[in-house]
């Protein structure tokens, strides 16, 4: 099996950067780890899931839908080089798989697939979580996986494109370490998993009263951070900007936590209370999506719990909900 020593990583990515548009975990100036380019800061594969939304690579906070000149919409050229996205964890990959399904289902969202179509996804796992903890093996859902065994990155390909990248690496090693990590990953249990499943049951059984959501609503300042960091949140708004001969239509991440999200021109608002909006945020992931897509659309990436300034991310709310209504 191929491997990369920590020292070889920089060269490895520098080489890939000649044929791909690279997006990988970097350390930004103040210590924030984020997905960026080699120019944005030193490569920072270690440290666990990134704080920002990894699916933003394909579905950025704001993007141009089209630019019309003198009323005509010219064809947008396809990206010159495919993206190579590094640093997704196992749950990030689940999220990506979920929104791939979402954007492909029914009407296919060609805007999303412009970048997504030919992108190469490189996962990270192994003992490279926060403080050297185990990030469970993804074992699929990606093209290539970099597995930190404590001393080097084991390179595990899953697709043709992943395979040819692995082939370009010279160094080989045995697969014992990978086997150990694979086994450990099987026993890796996220405590949040049981919590959100139980919360999901309660919600689907309609056992959570509105008064609970009123309490949660009281604690929500509508910062919208939970939605904006959630890798499976896909809601967007649309704006037109008018320049002299040019109109630029773009879409931007929207949030169901805002009162205006569903408010109609008449003033009628089907989600017109804080309680209804707080319910929607959790209910959508734990009850509505299972109904529509057959699975809970929270994969416990932890981002909303981390970003919420008042501690009402999905796991925290699920915990309260289970404690009170189960």
């Amino acid at each position: 099996m191929k491997f990369l020593s920590a020292e070889r990583i920089a060269d490895f990515f520098a080489a890939l950067a000649t044929s791909f548009e690279l997006r990988l975990p970097v350390m930004l100036p103040d210590g924030t780890r984020s997905i960026g380019t080699l120019e944005d800061g030193p490569i920072a594969l270690q440290g666990g899931a990134l704080d920002s939304k990894p699916t933003a690579v394909f579905f950025p906070q704001q993007e141009v839908v089209f630019t019309a000149r003198d009323g005509e919409v010219p064809d947008t050229p396809l990206p010159a080089r495919p993206l190579l996205v590094v640093g997704l964890t196992r749950c990030d990959l689940d999220c990506l798989r979920f929104i791939d399904r979402f954007f492909a289902g029914g009407w296919r969202d060609d805007l999303y697939f412009r970048q997504r179509e030919n992108a190469v996804i490189v996962a990270v796992s192994g003992y490279c979580g926060a403080g050297g903890s185990l990030l469970p093996l993804a074992a699929g859902n990606c093209d290539l996986e970099l597995v930190w065994d404590g001393s080097c990155w084991l390179v595990v390909p899953y697709s043709e494109s992943g395979g040819s990248i692995a082939d370009s690496i010279a160094d080989s090693t045995g697969s014992g370490a990978l086997q150990r990590i694979r086994t450990e990953s099987l026993f890796h249990i996220d405590e949040g998993d049981a919590i959100i499943r139980r919360a999901s049951e309660l919600l689907r059984a309609n056992r959570v009263p509105d008064s609970f959501w009123e309490e949660i609503g009281d604690r929500c300042i509508a910062c919208t951070g939970c939605n904006l960091v959630c890798p499976t949140c896909t809601c967007f708004g649309v704006q037109d900007w008018r320049y002299r001969n040019v109109v630029e239509r773009s879409r931007m991440w929207d949030s169901c936590q805002l009162a205006g999200f569903m408010r109609e021109a008449s003033g009628h608002n089907p989600m017109g209370s804080e309680a209804l909006r707080s319910r929607r945020r959790i209910h959508h992931k734990l009850a509505a999506d299972p109904e529509r897509w057959g699975e809970i659309s929270c994969y416990l990436c932890g981002r909303c719990d981390a970003v919420c300034p008042t501690g009402i991310g999905i796991v925290a709310v699920s915990q309260e909900l289970v404690a009170r209504f189960e």
């Binding site: 060609d110 649309v238 037109d240 109109v247 509505a288």
Partner: protein, 289 residues
């Protein structure tokens, strides 16, 4: 759940076209429906048909102003044009109201689930609309008119706030005198001393006097949000059940294709799974009605 024809329509005008880029349609004529509502008759270029079914909508797109979902107010049986009834409510519809015959506007669609004609055929239809809800309903009424033999008794009930706010007055007059339909209408309030001699009162007041063959009837409701609960209650009193009632819901849609999330009702997406629903599909869902 989706109408087969609906999926076929998915392919037609939109095939190979970027999902979010509108195509241009020409305004053939514009007429005033009320002081606040206009009817736009539009043509797809090169004489193509829009390929819609009653109950569907299009995303109207004005460059620089954005998009809004607008129900199609004409029947596909009259296929050399399509019509949109537009209320002036915001900046986009305000700009649209400035457009005149000969101008072009952007269209995406048709989108959404239509009235399920296969399940309406052979039935008595009770078509109840309020306010702007007459626009999508008109598409179905015209369809019934043009394929009259396919349906049983067709009863049209319509309510508006006032005489001034009444949409499609000429159509209503024609339907009232037509042998094809039974048609009653009402206004919430009439000016004292005015020349209006018709019903005054809520739309619900038109339901109790009706004689309905329960086993045969399907009721269709399209109207403002406040209307549904009350009309449904009246219909249930008449013996209709949730599998015999169809509703078309209005939501704030941004994309029209099930992506933007603004129109979701629990697990359903109003623009994709609706806007037309059988009542039993949504009555238990929070925030649906």
């Amino acid at each position: 759940m989706h109408d087969v024809l609906n999926s076929a329509a998915m392919g037609k005008l939109s095939a190979g076209r970027p999902l979010y880029v509108p195509f241009e349609c020409i305004i053939v004529s514009v007429s005033d429906l009320t002081p606040n509502e206009k009817l736009f008759r539009l043509q797809v270029p090169e004489g193509k048909a829009l390929g819609h079914l009653p109950g569907q909508f299009v995303q109207v797109s004005l460059l620089g102003w954005g998009e809004a979902p607008i129900s199609i107010a004409s029947s596909p049986t009259r296929s050399d044009y399509f019509e949109l009834g537009v209320r002036r409510a915001g900046s986009l519809t305000g700009a649209l109201h400035q457009r005149v015959a000969g101008d072009t506007i952007g269209i995406r669609g048709p989108y959404g689930r239509s009235f399920e004609l296969d399940r309406l055929r052979g039935r008595d239809l009770l078509l109840i609309s309020g306010g702007c809800g007459l626009a999508p309903m008109r598409s179905l009424i015209q369809y019934c008119e043009d394929r009259r033999a396919e349906f049983g008794r067709v009863t049209i009930l319509y309510g508006a706030k006032s005489i001034e706010d009444t949409l499609f007055k000429q159509d209503l007059n024609a339907w009232e005198t037509s042998a094809h339909f039974a048609c009653s209408r009402t206004v919430d309030r009439a000016q004292a001393g005015g020349c209006y001699g018709g019903n005054v009162g809520q739309i619900t007041s038109l339901i109790p006097p009706l004689t309905i063959d329960c086993a045969q009837t399907v009721a269709v409701i399209v109207g403002p949000p406040v209307m549904y609960r009350f009309v449904i209650a009246e219909l249930k009193k008449k013996g209709l059940t949730s599998v015999q009632i169809v509703v078309s819901l209005e939501r704030q849609m941004r994309c029209g294709v099930g992506k933007c999330g603004h129109c979701s009702i629990e697990h359903l997406s109003c623009c994709q799974d609706g806007p037309v629903f059988w009542l039993h599909e949504i009555e238990h869902l929070r925030g649906a009605l």
